[in-house]
Each structure stands twice: as structure tokens, then as C-alpha cells.
């Protein structure tokens, strides 16, 4: 009996684990100084693990991963986690700083009433480009047409990359055609597929990871990618004293907004620390540090005054009312729709 008790203790150990917060977050998605300050504040240790893709997070949790306190899923992945009952409801009494969040980013369809989630930061999916090359080639930078229309693409053949993501690329093509990014009418999907197949010969690659570098060194001139990454490419090009600059803008047809949210996993060993962490991150100054580091969009109104004015005034990072109206958050697809889209995507990639 004693032995059994001992074994149970071993199994339950994580429950009384040392003062450690396990944060499962995107790569490079929290400022190191913020982590240091939180560790000092809560007298605990933050143990970080990273993913590079919502699907990676979902797959890992579906395979039974436990021991994470905080996860930072994007809207559609959040919806999926909520429906699976994989999250712990938040105790809002422990999160007074919730008042700092811009109401425009609260109460999303993914988690109505924010029972489980608190907005953390966001990115937009847009076009980034080599400013000088675009000017010299006379290409527009305010429309998806430049990515999809052979008329323009002929001038930048082999110098364009698009995201290696079915949802994102499909959303861009749908927006280009004037549909919603969340359109699920199959006929519209097939039209979007045609658009993509027509443009594909001009693209160099489907690339979600190294386009920042390619843009910075000047191998690639035009990319479909995330605003954070464009910001990094821009700063890197500046730091490397390149002869060109990197620009990025939200196409006039509209684009995808990806809002990342802090949530607490059902099996969180330390929900108490997790609440502390969420409240801490909602503090204006703490929240601003990530934006200043990677140029992410920030839903925190109290953070604005700490944010580097150059970033705060960029409409691609802080969209005004007009732009915000044209941004859409991607909703989760059901199994049937995913299968159809996946088959479309395989054809796109193989043909």
C-alpha cells in the first residue's frame, strides 16, 4: 500500500511541481526581458516549448501531450480546442487587466464571451516586397493581383514565394476573387484553385519558413506572408545596410487577421501561475515589449503608449477602422470541407 502511494505520488508529482510555468508558445513570440521580469515577479521559473504551426500544437495535444500550462493558439485552433473541451475556463477575477484589451478583439466567434481565452497578439497575412524592385518593374503593391495575375507575375517570374499553407493561400485567392476568406462554396474553391494553378509557374516556392531570409538577401522580391515576418525582414535588411528596403501592405481586397490567444490547458499543472501570467502579460508595458521586438499587432490599448511610434503608425500592423473592416479571421473547417480542400491542395502541389 505504501508502495502504491509512493508510485501515485510520483505520477502526481507534476501536480505539486516546483514553481514552474510551462509555456507552449510560437517560436520567438515573447520578449526575453518580459520572461525575466515575470520570473522575478512570481518567483517561479518559466519553461518554454515552441511550435511553428497551429496544427503542430493540435497534433501534439491530440496525441495526448500534458504538462503545459499556457498555450497560445490562433482563432480557429482555439475554436477547435474549446469544442474538444481541452481548456480550463478562466477565472476573470484573477485577470483584472482584461480591461486593457480593445473590445474589437474580444468576443470572437471562436470563444464567445472569452470564457477560455484572452487576446495576446495578432498578425495579418499580406504581401511584402522589395520596394526598389517593385518600383522599377512598375508593379502595384496594394492588391493580390500582383501575386495571382500572370500579367504582373511575368515581370517577377521566379522571384515570388507564397505561404505553404492551404488555408492562407486559399484565403488570399478567394479574397482576390472577391469572396470571403471563409467561403466554403466548392465552386468558389475550384475557381480559386484555377487562379492558383495559373499563377504557380511564376512562383519560386511554397515557403513558410525561409522567405524572411530570401527577402532580406534579395533573392526573392515579392512574398505572401505574415506581417511579423515582414517586419523582421525589413529590420534585417536595414541592419545589414542593404541597398534596398522591404515594404509590406494589406491588399485592398482585404486579408486574413490571425489573433493569437492565451489559454490554459485542461491538464495545466499550475493554473494559479497561469492566471498570474495572463494578467501579467495584459499589463501595457509587458504587452508592448513583444510588439517592439517582432512588430506584432497588439490588441492591448494600454500598450500603445509604450510602442515604438514607427510601428504604431504602420497601418499594416495597426490597421485603422477602414482596414480592420476588410480583415477576416479564418474559421475552422469541418472534416468534410478539410478533405475537399486537402485534395485541392494536393493537386495544386503536385501538378
Amino acid at each position: 500500500m505504501n508502495r502504491l502511494f509512493f508510485l501515485l505520488c510520483l505520477v502526481a508529482m507534476p501536480g505539486f511541481a516546483a514553481d514552474e510555468l510551462h509555456l507552449y508558445n510560437w517560436n520567438n513570440y515573447i520578449a526575453p526581458e518580459t520572461v525575466d521580469r515575470f520570473e522575478a515577479y512570481c518567483k517561479c521559473k518559466v519553461i518554454q516549448d515552441y511550435y511553428s504551426d497551429n496544427e503542430e500544437l493540435l497534433a501534439k495535444l491530440a496525441a495526448g501531450a500534458k504538462g503545459y500550462d499556457i498555450l497560445v493558439p490562433t482563432g480557429n485552433a482555439l475554436a477547435s480546442l474549446v469544442r474538444q473541451g481541452a481548456l480550463l475556463p478562466l477565472d476573470k477575477r484573477l485577470i483584472p487587466n482584461l480591461k486593457n484589451i480593445n473590445p474589437a478583439y474580444l468576443n470572437t466567434p471562436f470563444d464567445p464571451g472569452n470564457r477560455y481565452s484572452v487576446p495576446y497578439a495578432y498578425t495579418t497575412t499580406l504581401i511584402g516586397y522589395n520596394v526598389e524592385k517593385m518600383k522599377r518593374l512598375g508593379l502595384p503593391t496594394d492588391t493580390w493581383a500582383v501575386i495571382f495575375d500572370p500579367k504582373y507575375l511575368a515581370r517577377v517570374k521566379g522571384r515570388v514565394t507564397v505561404l505553404d499553407s492551404q488555408r492562407e493561400l486559399m484565403a488570399a485567392a478567394l479574397k482576390y476573387l472577391g469572396y470571403s476568406a471563409n467561403d466554403t462554396v466548392e465552386a468558389h474553391w475550384y475557381r480559386a484553385e484555377q487562379v492558383i494553378l495559373r499563377a504557380k509557374p511564376y512562383w519560386a516556392a511554397f515557403n513558410s519558413s525561409s522567405y524572411i531570409k530570401e527577402l532580406t538577401v534579395g533573392n526573392i522580391w515579392l512574398v505572401h506572408g505574415y506581417s511579423n515576418d515582414m517586419f523582421q525582414a525589413q529590420s534585417d535588411a536595414k541592419a545589414a545596410r542593404r541597398k534596398f528596403t522591404i515594404g509590406f501592405s494589406i491588399p485592398k481586397e482585404g486579408a486574413v487577421l490571425a489573433l493569437d490567444n492565451m489559454v490554459i490547458h485542461k491538464y495545466a499543472p499550475r493554473p494559479d501561475l497561469a492566471h498570474k501570467f495572463i494578467n501579467f502579460m495584459l499589463d501595457g508595458k509587458n504587452s508592448s515589449e513583444l510588439t517592439n521586438m517582432i512588430g506584432s499587432g497588439n490588441p492591448n490599448l494600454a500598450a500603445l503608449k509604450y510602442i515604438n511610434p514607427e510601428i504604431a503608425s504602420n497601418p499594416a500592423i495597426f490597421p485603422g477602422k477602414k482596414e480592420l473592416g476588410k480583415l477576416e479571421m479564418l474559421q475552422d473547417l469541418n472534416m468534410e470541407q478539410r478533405r475537399v480542400l486537402n485534395r485541392l491542395w494536393i493537386k495544386i502541389k503536385i501538378e
Binding site: 504551426d53 496544427e55 480546442l81 469544442r83 521566379g158 492551404q166 516556392a205 494536393i346 503536385i350
Partner: protein, 296 residues
């Protein structure tokens, strides 16, 4: 039985290891390929419970999907071609190298083998990223090649993000796996055999083709197996260097598990790949054995 006890004792742990980490996971995967996908990734339950009791919740849908569209088979064929080309060039370049090492003075041999293994000391992905830099349009290598081609009036070629880049990098990555078994084999050849052949009037080429080459066949088979099979499942290289036309079956399997959240179909693809590899390797082994017997 008692006589064999020692043998069992020695081979037991590796057999157990293979059973636990290969046979059981493979069975799980076979089962997974007949299940339905879970709504949020993962798998649907094997048994469905309703008023009349539990029902098996299995399906052939994943396999039906595979055979319903030639596009999947085409990707298999393409992957196979990449693997064959990679294996062929690995063999072509590794054989002279292995022979050179095996025939060099014994005091240098260890050093030369060490040099072959040296690339393993740096991370696989970093080595692939290095190829990105080498093949990029800004690189000295690309510039030199395009300058050379320019002399003949051939327009600048793009190297990065092409199937060529994928195969080139695959050859680079797999080359040591071909060199090592070949070297291990060639090093053991008895030089007296070559002397005997020479005494009987064989010239250099005959000595190689009639003596060295047939003796090295086991090394060649081992090298081919070590290169060919891993290449079939690789996804990192085409992901990074492949561009819009370079994807392989490994990328599709990865995509099924992650983006598509369709584990059963991903498992079915993996199993088809395993079966395909077994047929090819088994067939090749059979042919080789028959030929070997025929020669005697």
C-alpha cells in the same frame, strides 16, 4: 535448446527492441489506416456504442481515396524516380571513393573514413540550409555556373527551388551511407586474388570487372538499401529546397498528419510506402540471388 540458449540471450534484447519499437507501432499504424479521422485531429474511436451494442467503426475509405485518383500514385512514382536517381549517382560517386580509400596506405585509411563521416558532426538541417545559400541566385557558385553557361548563350538557370536542387542535396546527404558499406566490403578483399588474375593475363579493367566488382556486390546491395529506402520517406529536403515542383511522398504524409488532420489517410500512405519499398527491395534481392546462383 540449451545449446541455443546463449544465442537467444544475445539476440533477445535487440529482437525485443525491434518488436517494441517497430512491430507494435507498425501494427498501430495499420490499424489507424482503417479508422476514421477524429474531428479535431487524432482518430475516431474504434468502437461505436449505440442501443444495439458496440459496433466496429472501421473503414476502407483511406485506401479507396488512394486508388480513386492517380495523383497519389503519380507522386509515388515521382518519389521513386528521385530515389532511384539519388541511389544511382550515390553509387557512381561512392564506388571510386570507397575503392580509393580501401586501396590507400593503411595509415591514411582511418583518416579518410573519418573525413567521410565528418559531415555528420553538424546538424542535418543546417547542412540543407547551407545548400540554400550555395544554390541561391546570389551565391558565387550560381554566378560562376551561369557565367559559364552564358558563354554558350544559355540563359541564366535557377538552381534553388528546383527538383535538381532536391536530388543534388539528397545525393549529398546520403553519400556517406553508400561509401561506408562499400568501403567495409572492399577493404576485406584479398589482394592475392588480383595478383592471381594478373598472372592469368587479365588486364586492369578485367581485374576490376571479373574480380573486384562481383566480390563487392554485397557491399553494393547494402549501400543501395541504406540510401534508397531512407530517401523514399524524406521530407525535409524537398520542403526546404523543392520549390513549387519538388515535393515527395514524405511531404504529403506530413501534410496529412498536420495540416489536413487526416491521420488515417496519412497512415495509409505510410503503409503503401512501406509495402512499395518492401516489394522493390524484395524483388531486387530475389533477382540478385537468382543471378548470383546462375553465375555459379
Amino acid at each position: 535448446m540449451a545449446k541455443n540458449f546463449g544465442k537467444w540471450l544475445i539476440s533477445g534484447p535487440p529482437v525485443l527492441y525491434l518488436v517494441v519499437f517497430f512491430v507494435i507501432p507498425t501494427c498501430i499504424m495499420v490499424l489507424a489506416s482503417f479508422r476514421y479521422a477524429g474531428e479535431y485531429g487524432g482518430l475516431a474511436p474504434i468502437f461505436l456504442h449505440d442501443a444495439s451494442g458496440a459496433h466496429l467503426n472501421l473503414t476502407l475509405e483511406s485506401y479507396r481515396e488512394f486508388f480513386s485518383d492517380f495523383i497519389y500514385s503519380w507522386l509515388f512514382i515521382k518519389t521513386l524516380i528521385y530515389a532511384l536517381v539519388t541511389t544511382f549517382f550515390c553509387l557512381l560517386t561512392a564506388y571510386p571513393l570507397a575503392l580509393l580509400i580501401a586501396r590507400s596506405a593503411s595509415k591514411y585509411r582511418d583518416l579518410l573514413v573519418l573525413l567521410v563521416i565528418l559531415p555528420f558532426w553538424s546538424n542535418f538541417l543546417i547542412r540543407i540550409y547551407a545548400w540554400m545559400i550555395l544554390l541561391g541566385p546570389q551565391s558565387a557558385f550560381s554566378a560562376a555556373l551561369n557565367g559559364f553557361l552564358g558563354i554558350f548563350g544559355v540563359g541564366p538557370v535557377r538552381l534553388l527551388f528546383t527538383p535538381f536542387a532536391v536530388v543534388l542535396c539528397l545525393i549529398y546527404v546520403q553519400l556517406p551511407f553508400m561509401v561506408l558499406p562499400l568501403y567495409a566490403n572492399l577493404e576485406k578483399h584479398d589482394p592475392a586474388l588480383l595478383d592471381a588474375a594478373q598472372d592469368l593475363g587479365a588486364n586492369g579493367w578485367q581485374r576490376f570487372w571479373r574480380v573486384t566488382f562481383p566480390l563487392s556486390l554485397p557491399g553494393i546491395y547494402a549501400g543501395i538499401a541504406l540510401v534508397f529506402i531512407p530517401v523514399l520517406g524524406i521530407f525535409a529536403v524537398p520542403d526546404i529546397l523543392g520549390g513549387t515542383r519538388g515535393i515527395m511522398i514524405g511531404n504529403l504524409i506530413k501534410q496529412e498528419f498536420l495540416e489536413a488532420r487526416d491521420w488515417p489517410f496519412g497512415s495509409a500512405l505510410s503503409i503503401m510506402l512501406t509495402i512499395g519499398a518492401m516489394i522493390i527491395v524484395g524483388g531486387a534481392a530475389l533477382v540478385a540471388r537468382r543471378r548470383g546462383r546462375g553465375d555459379v
